[in-house]
């Protein structure tokens, strides 16, 4: 078992393994950096050292994303909406639900109200700007909640499999068999409609999609060699789930979440349109809802907040598309 014994075995007759290191030594080549033996021991490494270092995955994805004009437009428009939502109280410090002028002013009729007033004399522009706040709040918060819970459930189900998976999949299926919007209406009707309850209700109906997606990703990645390697190094389950598998499962989840925000905004609008939104807060959906009866005489009351919804949702979908192109490994050549 001593090393001399090993050395003696090197000279066995019939041993066909040529010690390649001997032939590989570059005569007289002085390494420019690193320890002197590095090139001798690893000529494969030497060739890599001089090669141009490829850009990392993340930067490549960013480049693809921002080379896409649609994604760029989506990002720009979403940025504008976010800026507007943040600045709305600066432009219009008064309550957007208070009556400020003559009713039924058409857009452009009175310079004080560029987008006109509604049947009660409320400023439409102020309503749209303040409405973006509730739309974004509900969209982002509901998505964050649904995403967190969905990823947790999907990760646990996909990673552990077995009876844990069976139970969690049944749970997901229970939610999926119920028509989601009906469930949403029921949930909001039971709880008192407010921005918080609407957000929670939307999160409750949106997590199963994420859970299914995450579970599918985890089931595939669980079998990869690097997960086995991680287990062989003594990593615990939580570390393998969150540090090893989840980062690799993220691209499709990120893409889905951008569309989830759009869906949540639409759902909030639909609820407000039906009068199930928070009555004390103006939202795009509630503006359409109150303008609905006047659609033949004053169509701008439904069209203007409608356009705000259309463009915001479109922007989010374009971002989702762009992220899909940027993060989907099928489209990346250099990996």
């Amino acid at each position: 078992m001593s090393s001399t014994g090993v050395g003696a075995l090197r000279n066995i007759p019939g041993a066909t393994y040529a010690p390649a290191t001997e032939n590989e030594q570059p005569a007289g080549v002085a390494p420019t950096e690193g320890p002197a033996w590095s090139n001798v021991k690893a000529p494969d490494a030497r060739s890599q050292q001089s090669a141009t270092i490829a850009i990392t995955n993340g930067r490549r994805a960013m480049r693809v994303f921002f080379a896409n004009p649609n994604a760029l437009f989506g990002t720009g428009f979403l940025g504008l909406v976010i800026a507007v939502a943040l600045l709305a109280p600066v432009f219009f410090p008064d309550d957007p639900l208070s009556m400020v002028g003559r009713p039924f002013l058409w857009p452009g009729q009175d310079p004080a109200f560029p987008l006109g007033t509604d049947s009660l004399g409320r400023d439409v522009l102020s309503g749209i700007l303040h409405g973006s706040r509730i739309s974004l709040f509900v969209g982002l918060t509901a998505t964050a909640l649904g995403l967190t819970f969905g990823v947790l459930v999907g990760a646990v189900a996909g990673y552990f499999g077995g009876w844990v998976d069976d139970i969690l999949v049944r749970l997901v299926e229970i939610f999926q068999t119920l028509p989601s919007f009906v469930l949403l209406v029921v949930l909001v009707a039971i709880a008192q409609p407010s921005a918080t309850t609407v957000t929670l209700a939307i999160a409750v109906i949106s997590w199963p999609t994420v859970a299914r997606l995450t579970r599918a990703e985890f089931r595939a990645i669980r079998e990869k060699d690097f997960v086995m390697a991680a287990r062989s190094l003594g990593f615990g389950h939580a570390r393998i789930i969150f540090r090893e598998i989840l980062p690799n499962a993220l691209p499709p989840i990120i893409v889905t979440s951008s569309v989830m925000v759009a869906t949540a905004i639409l759902m909030e609008s639909a609820l407000s349109f039906m009068g199930l939104g928070d009555p004390n807060v103006v939202s795009w959906g509630s503006m359409i809802g109150t303008g609905r009866e006047l659609v033949r005489t004053a169509w701008y009351l439904t069209a203007l907040p409608g356009l705000a919804i259309v463009f915001t949702v479109l922007a989010l979908n374009l971002i989702g598309d762009g992220l899909n192109d940027a993060l989907n490994p099928r489209f990346s050549q250099d990996r």
């Binding site: 066909t16 390649a20 590989e24 390494p31 494969d44 995955n57 690097f226 390697a229 062989s232």
Partner: protein
Amino acid sequence: MAPLLRVENLTIGFPRAEPVRNLSFEVAQGETLAIVGESGSGKSLTALALMQLLPRAARVTSGRITFGDRDLLALDAREMRRLRGREIAMIFQEPMTSLNPVMTIGGQIGEVLKVHERLSGKAARARAIELLQLVRIPGADKRVDDYPHQLSGGMRQRVMIAMAVACRPKLLIADEPTTALDVTIQAQVLDLLDTLRRELQMAVVLITHDLGVVAQWADRVVVMYAGRKVEQALPADLFKDPLHPYTRGLLAASPRLKNDFHYRNGALTEIPGSIVSAVGEAGCPFRPRCAQARASCGHHIPPLTAPAPDRLVACPFTSSIKAVPDALALSH
């Protein structure tokens, strides 16, 4: 001195098959034990059983695995996790897919140290650079922030080795560590493993199907066939005087530089049939492929006998085979 690892009568069962049967071997401290056999002989399953990482359907149905003074099969999941990576580590066949593609190599090496030695992020990074230098990666302080896709196969296998030896394990299981690499890189990686074995005083279980690797790097060899040990010897003895017909076939089927590298004087010999030939049959598992097979071979499985010190063979007719040299392999 008590062996570091002792495997006794290990049997691994799937619901419908027993890919490893009654396998016993020992690994001494600081020794390299090679396990040789063709695909499907149960080598990799044995390795996974040592790590307690068998696939879900497989189970150790009988036998004992003793590591130091601990019975591995009796440890619970938490104790086993603490052992893995710290005292027993493993490197895998495929360096291209065995690293997490979205984490830097320094981060991955540091992760091991954070888990087992509770190092802080900064200390783990410093140790990761040291380990990269230990496995001869040039420019380690820059390479530490590289992602796996920026490295070649040989470099990735070096990173895998760095992760495996990060906590100075007593036993390193290398499951065909060089199969996926270029021939020139193979020798370097094996050389590195051997150097580390001596520097870190760890034992190595080297699983391979490459007899050249065995000849050069192993202290002892176990030849496996169909889940059983058919021969055990020192490499010098094995190459000079193979006893089991299967070992003789394996050696005859290896290309030799000295002889006829381009096979001008005839094709490389092969062992007829395949490893599945023996499924469901009684008796010696090699019998359907063995030129020396006799009627009695079908009755029972030949037991391991010790024809010489340090040697074991599972064939009762080795003396008669020796009397007719090359009768098996070179009959074509």
